[in-house]
Subunit: 272 residues, 2 copies
């Protein structure tokens, strides 16, 4: 019998940090059933009272929070003690430790991560660039990217690009289409270039699913096993010829592919 646990993810801002820790913990205990309840922008004790009331109405409630403001935090801690609700402040231990290391007080200002500063606007610009250069669009400005991702259709170029865009990288993703020759400046660009490949039989499955879902009217070559094998082989040749590092995405999630790309960038930086 697997129990259901109700997780209350509480934050004084958007809740991304508490979300990530929750996912990391959940991955370590895959057998339970989890329900999540988001409480973002928690700033007042009226709001914490609503939270505690909601907790009491569910079975096995657990609170994870990333609040920095003392009044709301203390209110939650005291209520949780009184009602025996497990409650974890993810920064409560770390912030005092870092006050010691840095020899300064933490600002304890909520939402500190979301200042609309230069860094933020750079990220938005990166997302915009990435979107405009999806799937081989605007080939003439593709060379201005931080990263150029190449690969045949359905090697997860687009989600990987969006993910990297959201992390502040300007990405161009360019599909390799048979018998089409890419402009030379793509290969000469100073952007980090990566080639995505995938196991042909896996690609066959992915493309078949796509056709079923989208009712795409695509040519039969798109899901012909021989053509797929040739496509992948040709793409590998292009990558090798142009000294482009290859990532096999067969058993990789988008996040893992993105992390592998970031690793390549860092290795190249070190070698510069």
């Amino acid at each position: 019998m697997n129990k259901t646990f109700n997780f209350f993810l509480v934050s004084d801002s958007t809740g991304e940090t508490v979300d990530r820790i929750y996912l990391a913990l959940k991955a370590q205990f895959p057998k339970n059933i989890y329900k999540i309840h988001h409480f973002a922008f928690m700033r007042t004790t009226t709001q914490t009272a609503t939270l505690i009331k909601a907790c009491k109405g569910t079975e096995n409630p657990i609170i994870l929070y990333t609040l920095v403001e003392k009044k709301t935090t203390n209110h939650i801690i005291n209520e949780c003690k009184a009602f025996n609700i497990p409650c974890f402040g993810l920064l409560d231990y770390l912030i005092p430790q870092f006050e010691k290391i840095f020899k300064q007080k933490a600002t304890l200002k909520p939402s500190g991560q979301h200042v609309l500063n230069k860094e933020y606007y750079k990220k938005i610009e990166a997302m915009q660039f990435t979107l405009q250069h999806d799937d081989g669009q605007k080939l003439d400005t593709a060379v201005d990217a931080d990263i150029i991702i190449l690969g045949v259709s359905r090697t997860s170029k687009t989600p990987t690009s969006l993910y990297l865009g959201e992390r502040g990288f300007k990405v161009s993703n360019i599909p390799l289409v048979q018998h089409q020759i890419l402009p030379d400046n793509i290969f000469k660009s100073s952007a980090t270039k990566v080639g995505l490949v995938i196991d042909p039989s896996r690609l066959f499955d992915v493309r078949k699913t796509r056709i079923n879902i989208l009712n795409d009217k695509l040519s039969s070559a798109y899901i012909n096993m021989n053509t797929i094998e040739t496509e992948i082989k040709t793409s590998k040749k292009i990558f090798t010829l142009n000294k482009i590092p290859i990532i096999d995405v067969t058993r990789k999630s988008v996040e893992e592919t993105a992390a592998a790309i970031i690793k390549i960038i860092e290795i190249q930086k070190q070698n510069d």
Copy 2:
């Protein structure tokens, strides 16, 4: 004098969790100068040896890690003790606590978050849908979204949509263009609808910057203050008339707007 601290973000997988905690801590101590070094996919003691060597070569090194495997973790802890490097395992305290609460052992498998399961494919599908329905594309299938975002040009509809797409929501974003009438089924759709508005003078600045950056040849009405004021006023009227909740994005980051949208969804769920 603000010190420079070298943060080593160490993970056995993609490093998203450790990244978030680092950002949360950094936001609390904005005066320092930070350099970050990513060490993702840390799985062997040979890799941890490289990490410790890199730490020793920098000033004020600090390690944050989200490793679950004992051998690598112990190696790092011992080396850090020997060389006096501050070192924080972000899950080391939480996992044993949750073993008690759940009355079961953690799997301690690295990369547990990135299983290619149903949930993962749902997310990829959501990103795909969101991309295909950006900026009023495919209006006929826009109604199948989880969320429909409406607003005049440059109210951050696109980055907000991509952000929500990456979180597993299918989003359609539709620009409100003057004198254009949206199909009725958009308003009748069961998707959560939100209207984005912005302070007219802020919108004026944003659009002006856009024209400068992209060399866009847009009509002068696009950056005419009177027209902008009318556009915003009209959009508010449409939202009110159709009972669409309004979010003012003037001082909001994309993450905050997205979190506000998720909050609206949860309130609507509760009222259903």
